[in-house]
Each structure stands twice: as C-alpha cells, then as structure tokens.
Point group: C2
Chain length 466, copies 2
Amino acid sequence: MWCKNAFLAHSRNFIQLNHVYKNFSAIASVIEKASVGEVAEVKGWVRNLRVQKELVFADVNDGSCAQRLQIVIPKNLKPETLTYGSSVHITGKLSKSPRGQLELVAENVNVLGPCVVLDGYPFNPRTTHSPEYVRQYLHLRSRTNYISAILRVRNSVTRHIHDFFASNNYLHIHTPILTSNDCEGAGEVFKIQPDNEETVKAMMQEGRDKDSVYFGTKTFLTVSGQLHLEAICRGMGNVYTLGPTFRAENSRSRLHLSEFYMLEAELAFCDSIDKLQAVIEDLLKYLFIQTINSNEADLHLIDKEKARLPFWVDKKFVTLTYNEAKSILDKKGTVSTEEGLNKEQELALVEHCNGIPVFVIRWPKEQKSFYMKECQDDYTKVDALDLLTPITGEVVGGSLREDDYEKLKSKLPSERLNWYLDLRKFGNIPTGGFGLGLERLLQVICGVNNIKDTLPFPRWPHNCDM
Amino acid sequence: MWCKNAFLAHSRNFIQLNHVYKNFSAIASVIEKASVGEVAEVKGWVRNLRVQKELVFADVNDGSCAQRLQIVIPKNLKPETLTYGSSVHITGKLSKSPRGQLELVAENVNVLGPCVVLDGYPFNPRTTHSPEYVRQYLHLRSRTNYISAILRVRNSVTRHIHDFFASNNYLHIHTPILTSNDCEGAGEVFKIQPDNEETVKAMMQEGRDKDSVYFGTKTFLTVSGQLHLEAICRGMGNVYTLGPTFRAENSRSRLHLSEFYMLEAELAFCDSIDKLQAVIEDLLKYLFIQTINSNEADLHLIDKEKARLPFWVDKKFVTLTYNEAKSILDKKGTVSTEEGLNKEQELALVEHCNGIPVFVIRWPKEQKSFYMKECQDDYTKVDALDLLTPITGEVVGGSLREDDYEKLKSKLPSERLNWYLDLRKFGNIPTGGFGLGLERLLQVICGVNNIKDTLPFPRWPHNCDM
C-alpha cells in the first residue's frame, strides 16, 4: 500500500540516487563552487595553448559555461599530443593566477583524443572565423564560442518558456507533426511518403496514389499546431505547444528556415484582443529578464551590446491599428507593392516608435486567415495582431478565433476541416491565441543577424547536411 | 547601463505583470485555494446534470484537474440550453454539500455554447465509452475523463524529464526532424518532397529527381537524434533531446505508432555501461515518484491500480547478460524464430524477475547497430543494453559508442556518415547514451493498454485524421 510517508522516504532515496552521474567536474561547477587549494578534476577541450619556457598554459572549456579554465602545466607533464582542439582529462590543485583568476595547476594530464589541425580540422586557435565559414562544419561548430553560447541561451529560453506557461497553469500539448489538413500553409508544405517500395506495394489499394497509400490520405508536415490546440483547448482550457514546424518555401533570407520551432498558445475563454496582448507582452519581458539572469556571460560572448536588458522592458508596448500603421508609413513615403507590411515597413514602424515593440491590430479581413474573428464594430476587419520588434520585424502573430458557427462555415476552405467546425457546435467557448517563432526571438535576444545560427542543425533550400 | 539592482526591480515588476491573465478561476485553483463562503467564478463544461424538483445539480470540469465541481442551481436560474456537454460561465458562493464536499451555489448561470447531443455529439452522460470508440473522435476526446487525465500526466512527465536533466546539468538540444542520413532506420523511413509543383519546377536542376530537388539530397524524417546529439556532446558535454521521431512501418500493434516521442540522452566521458544503467535507473524511479506526487488523482481516474508507487521503486533493477537471459528463456521453453528477444520473451524475463525492471546487457554484435562499442573482453559482443518493464517490455535501449576510429570506419554503413567518423578524429571522447520511448513509458506509468491513447493525436497506418 502506498502512503505519503513511504513516498517521502522514496523521495529522499531518490535525492541520493540522483547524484550517481551528476556532472561534478563540469567547469561551470568548478568555477562556481570550488576554491583555491582544493583538488579538482576537469574534462574538456583545449581551446588555446601557450607554450613558455617552463610552463604550458592551456585554456580548457567543456561547454558547460562560457568561461574557460586556465590550466598550468609543468613542461615535463605535457603529453606530446596535447594540442589545440584535443580533449583532455586533467587533475590538479586550484590556485589563483597573478591576475587573481582561478586556475588549475595540473598534476596529471591525460589526452583522451588528439586533434591534428593539418589533418583537416577546420578551426584555428586565436582566429575568429565568420559564421558563414563555421556553418560549413555543422558537426564541429558546437566547439566554437559563438555557437556554443547561442545553444546554451536556446536551452535556457526554452526552459523559461515552459516555466512561464507552467506557472500560469497552461497545459503543454504535443501537437502532431504529420497532418492531413491541407489548407493552412498557402501551398508551401512538404508531403511525405514511405521510402521503402516494398512497404508501398504491400499497402497499395486500388485508386490510391503513392501520396496517400500509407495513411489513406495525402499527408503533410505541419505548418502550425493551432487548429489542434483549439481542439484540446475546448475541453481542457489554456494550452500551448513548442515544436518543429515546416515551410517548403524557396527562400534563403537571413530570416527563413525550412524547419523551425514555433511556440503556440491558445487561451480559453479569451474574448478580447487586449487580453492576448497582455499575455504576449508579459511573456516577452519575462523571457528577456530571465535570460539575462541565467546567461549573461553567454550573451556577452555572442554580442557585448546585447548582454543587458533592453530599455523597453519596463515600458508598455505600443499598439497601432493597421490603418494607423499604414498612415505613418504613407507619411514616411515607404511603398509596398504587396498587401500588408513588408519587412522594411515593419522595421520602420519599430523605429518610428523609438525601438519599442509594436502591436499592429485590426487587420483587413482579406489579408488574414479564415479562422480569425471579425471585429464586432467593423466586418471588414479581423481581431488579429502582429508584434513587431527590432532586428526581425514580426516575431509574433495572433488573433481571436471566429466562434460563430455560421460565419466560420461560410469561410471554411475545405471539407477536410469539418472537425474544426464541429468544435463550434458542441459546448463552444471563445478562444484566442498566438504563434511565436523561437529562432526569430533568439535573434532578437542574442543580436544574431542570421537565423541559421540560432539552432544546432539549420535546414534551408539545398542545405540538409547530416 | 544595466545593473543587478535594475534587474531585480524589473523582476518585481514582472511578478505583477505575470498575473494579468493567470487562470484564477480554474477549478483546480478554486478547489485548492478557495473556502466556504467565498464568491467564486467558474468556466467549464457540464459533464453531468441531475434535475430535481427545486434544484439542478451540474458537475462542471474545465480540464485543469481530475475533479469536477458540483454546481447547485436553483431551478429558476437554469437556462433552457444548460445540458450535458454545454460550456458554462457560473458565478456564485462556495458552500459545503451535505456529504461535506465543496460545491458552488450558483447566483448567475450563463451558457456560452450549447450542446445538442442529438445533433451528433458522440458522448453520453453516465456512460463509459470504450477507448476504441472514443478514438474515432480525436477532436472531441479531450473532453473525456480517460484522455484528459492521460494528457495531464503526459504534461507532467514531460516536465519532470526536463527537470531531471536540467538539475543534472544536461543541455537540451533540438535535434533536426529533417535529415539526409539514410542508414539508421533499417529502411522504414518516410521521405519528404515539396507538395507545390511550381516550387519543384523552379528548383529543379539537371540530373536530380523529385526526391532531392529541394534540399539537393534525398531527405527523410528522423528515426533518432542520437548521431546529432553525439556531435554536440563532443563540444558541449552532456546533452539530451525530447522530440518526435518517425517509423514508416506497416504495424498496427498496441505498442506501435508512426509518429512518437523519444527522449534521447548522450553522456560525455562515459566509459562504462554501468554508469549508463545508473542514470537510466535513476531517471525511471524519479519519473514514477514525481508523477505520483503531481498527478495522483489523474492516475486514479485512469486506473485505480496504478495510482501508487510501483513496489520496485526502492529495489535495484536486475541486470542479465544476453546469454543469461537466453538460458533462462531456454529453460522456460520459449522459442523465438527471430534474432534477439521477441515481445513475449521480454515480458517473460520481467516476470521471471518478479516484475522488477531488467537490464539485458552484452548483446551479440550482429544484432545491434554499427555505432555500438565492442566489449573489451569479447569482440563478438557489444556494450549495449535494453531495459525491459512490465506491460511494454523494452522501454529503453542504449549503448556505449564505438570510439575507435579504425573500428568505426570499417563498420560505417555509408559515406554520407563521414561527418560522424570525423567526430572520432578531432578531440574525441568516450560517450554512451540511450533512447526512451515516451509513449511506452506513459503506458507503464498509467497502465494504458493501447499506445494510441497516450498522446493527443495518434498516427498509425491508414489513420492520420485532422
């Protein structure tokens, strides 16, 4: 029989168990917790090596933090294979350098894996390689300062996102990657098929083509989890998802990827656009504050200018209607050949508002998706929003959802979405939600110009290495 | 200029901001925090309705917890459209029922969305529908007890996984969904293409087929993030990923999905299989303990028998070599026509060990993947492990990775993996890792027989609705 006391005893047990393989020797822990005179053990990679008359100085980093630990090695202890790029296991005693920095005086130096630069290693010591150069070596680039710092920030931002929603009682939902919904992506979707011809043959039924043989229907990679979130929201309340989404666009801009992560949230019982704006504004400010707190040294390594809170963090975000935004742009004389706002115009609006993020609301209906709710006082507009920030322009898009059964029915783009219409038929509630591009947010937080450097394995046209 | 004090001031600011749209009226909060005599506001769905002479009793649930709140409605306040399945907004005063349970005496009842069962709503009050029946209505099934409780457990288990690894300094890495590695999945992979014929035409180059027109190489959905994790691990230390993976198998068993979530971890500087076992055993025990703590009422709703800690949580897991396991099975007289262990044999081994989870280690080399490390004392075996549990059999698979450059080179299945070989050439380290199927783990934690009920939108052959 299970009882609370037994549980607590088990919890204590666990606390011991939990440390069996805790990474005690991580350089982050050594720098934070150990003190001069203590014995320490470090495993990592040599990021720099200076050989002097009596002593060798090796800067070692293990990826656990932005800092390198300086190792002082008496020359007689230096193995032949100790070079830039090699992996090492070092034991010794902690000491203070003449400059007052913590350093490790080695007593034992073991090279785990040598690194012969002339054998094709693409990086050199004391050299700043361009992001474009480094991007050619995806499998090795986590060894560079720039990329490893960004990946640590990405890890933290992801965690802060989950913390924000968990503390506000949102349920995390894994929306599906594979979907038979064919009408959200404006045609720029990937379709899937089994690769194995025997599987295709075995599953083939009369009248079906290869595209629909496996699932019985043509199947795509998701462009958004919103419609699925709406289904769960209408039974379980506030929900969110953070997962990969896909676009088969032929775009190679510094703001586009074929595979990227999107945070999407759906708010139950949400009946006004300003509630949605309040949550988005809270979330953005929370993420900037928490990330400075958790990763200041990493942000400093990526871009010194960004290692501080943005000035707007205690200011209210600006709100403009679409018409107001257009009239500001007209006065500036910017011209758009397309509907809506182009990237240049988005950035001009942020500049116009002195760099404070800008919500643009009340969009013309014909520019936005079928599921967006008509404004109550103007049937030509919908209750949609874009949030514009410096560097990337649009980083969030959202709307109230059309909850009128007849209106939605008249706009439904495909019979395949009858299930979505059904949601309005049985115990319907008002909802609203938004999507935030994780990589674009990371660009803004870190000050990274090219989106391809904000995730470990970027995919874009003609590039799917590894 | 940014400084620590300013940061703290901002943090305080945030704490106020953060509550703008906190879900104060969630039934979970009302039950936990409010007390008799207080005014309360509740929004949710009517899960049961009993009409008596003077009073109407409505059980309302909003998905925030397993419990329903009983609403007592004076008959004159009952709207016509208040029925089973309808969504409601109710204000009133909290009180105690004659049985001592918290209830809400309604002062205002507003039906947000009616629900006419005869109009096609598939569920009925006071009826237990079978999981197979409910599964036909994916878009509505989060309104059932069984599925909503499982989704809350899934949310918690996911969170506990992140907590476990964060507290042990593992970095969360988003490994890619799209990959050009073609040699891990034993042929059972999905391939992808742009759906838009114009995109295909615009990107077509001479000598390329449709499968490789977009990325310049044939591209698949991932079957594992392990190789990518290994690349990051060899620069940043301990890493893990938790994301979707895919198999294009023609299998409809209660244990298989076409899209499922896998937790994969890679341990830096890991040179023995027992370190790997220790982490896996810790993780499993941690997840069971934390989930009982966070979701006891949900587990009770799913299966009364499972709403307690398993007896093995303070016992050491059993370890058997593959040879030992085979000899136990031989004595039992179970026969396998295939290599390795079949499902029946896996479950027989767990039963043989009195229901305690069993590690099977030291597997014949020819049964396992090319990247697994040869045992030091027996070149016919590899340092691999399977962890077997009740209900599902195998739930974790793992190994030390071959770190000898020449041995790995001789086993490499494709030139496309030269990057993987490269990792052994430059500053190599010993690593080991494992993969855990999230849905199978949920089956074991919740006691769910069919894997299709452990995630919101299951995909399996001929089934990709929504």
